[in-house]
């Protein structure tokens, strides 16, 4: 990935609506622009289309014209190339383990502090 391409990817990702568009496309690959717009209450179709153009310019979105529709897919390849650039095989392994631990802990039920509860009774 050359510096210009990488700049385009980072610029595209430096926007919350654009990141949300990628989330939508990851969840519903091949959906059209109208469907993506449904996920946004705060911005209209034209703005969504502009964001999609930026994402497409960064190769993060692939679009295909089918009849009158424009179908969209998330292309994870540039993100993976950035990941590859700054991770070695070993750090990737441990980073993956830590990330999984973080997700597990964040989704786990909050532990009850038994000591504290017991103390209040006594």
């Amino acid at each position: 990935m050359n510096p210009d391409e990488m700049d385009a990817v980072f610029a595209a990702l430096a926007s919350e609506p654009r990141r949300r568009i990628l989330d939508v496309l990851k969840k519903e690959p091949g959906c059209n622009v109208n469907r993506v717009t449904e996920f946004f209450e705060d911005i209209g179709r034209v703005a969504v289309m502009k964001h999609i153009d930026v994402l497409e310019g960064a190769n993060l979105v692939i679009s295909e014209k089918v009849g009158r529709e424009r179908l969209l897919w998330f292309n994870p390849v540039p993100v993976h190339m950035i990941y590859d650039r700054w991770t070695t095989e070993f750090s990737a392994y441990w980073a993956g383990k830590l990330a999984r631990m973080k997700y597990r802990l964040e989704n786990a039920p909050v532990p009850i502090d038994k000591k504290k509860r017991g103390g209040s009774r006594g």
Partner: protein, 176 residues
């Protein structure tokens, strides 16, 4: 009825179309971009209708079976694709190559993925892996160090592959 899921991946590779196409279609050495598999045909020559398999380097296991669907060198290669270890139906894999400023744009499309199956999961992960490695091979002559390490592990751990994937169970051109 909803269309079967489709996945699309795209990358620009600084190389020639011929070099990229050869990496995807060669049968005389392992395909470093495609999980180091040996593309094996029922008869020599990449021609639509030929049965194909992606075997391990030793040839003992056939991991993927399929049929060549389209060959338009150096622009397009398409084949059906079915993992032998799953019972999922086949999907279609298409590589489209296009000359663009800065190199060759490669689009990998997986069509008719059986929804909610292991095949769908594997194809979504695999597309990204294939294109990244294809780029590394064409631009530097070899896959990344991590990928090479993984291929060594594949070779050492070949014995853990399910018995159902053994090549003897999948005679090329056979009905199974």
């Amino acid at each position: 009825m909803a269309e079967p899921p489709k996945a699309v991946f795209k990358i620009v590779i600084n190389g020639t179309m011929e070099a990229v196409f050869r990496e995807l279609t060669k049968t005389d050495s392992p395909q470093g971009a495609v999980f180091n598999s040996m593309l094996t045909l029922d008869e020599p020559g990449l021609i639509p209708g030929r049965k194909m398999q992606m075997r391990t380097v030793s040839g003992r296991h056939a991991v993927v079976i399929g049929e060549v669907m389209e060959v338009e060198a150096p622009r397009r290669f398409a084949h059906t694709h079915r993992f032998t270890q799953f019972t999922d139906p086949s999907c279609k894999v298409v590589y489209d190559l296009k000359q663009v400023p800065g190199g060759v744009e490669v689009t990998l499309t997986v069509e008719n993925m059986p929804a909610g199956t292991k095949t769908e999961v594997e194809m979504n992960k695999g597309g990204m892996f294939i294109l990244n490695n294809l780029k590394a091979i064409v631009e530097t002559g070899k896959p990344s160090f991590g990928c090479r390490l993984m291929y060594v592990m594949f070779h050492w751990l070949e014995f853990v592959l399910p018995a159902s994937t053994k090549s003897e169970n999948w005679p090329i051109g056979g009905k199974k």
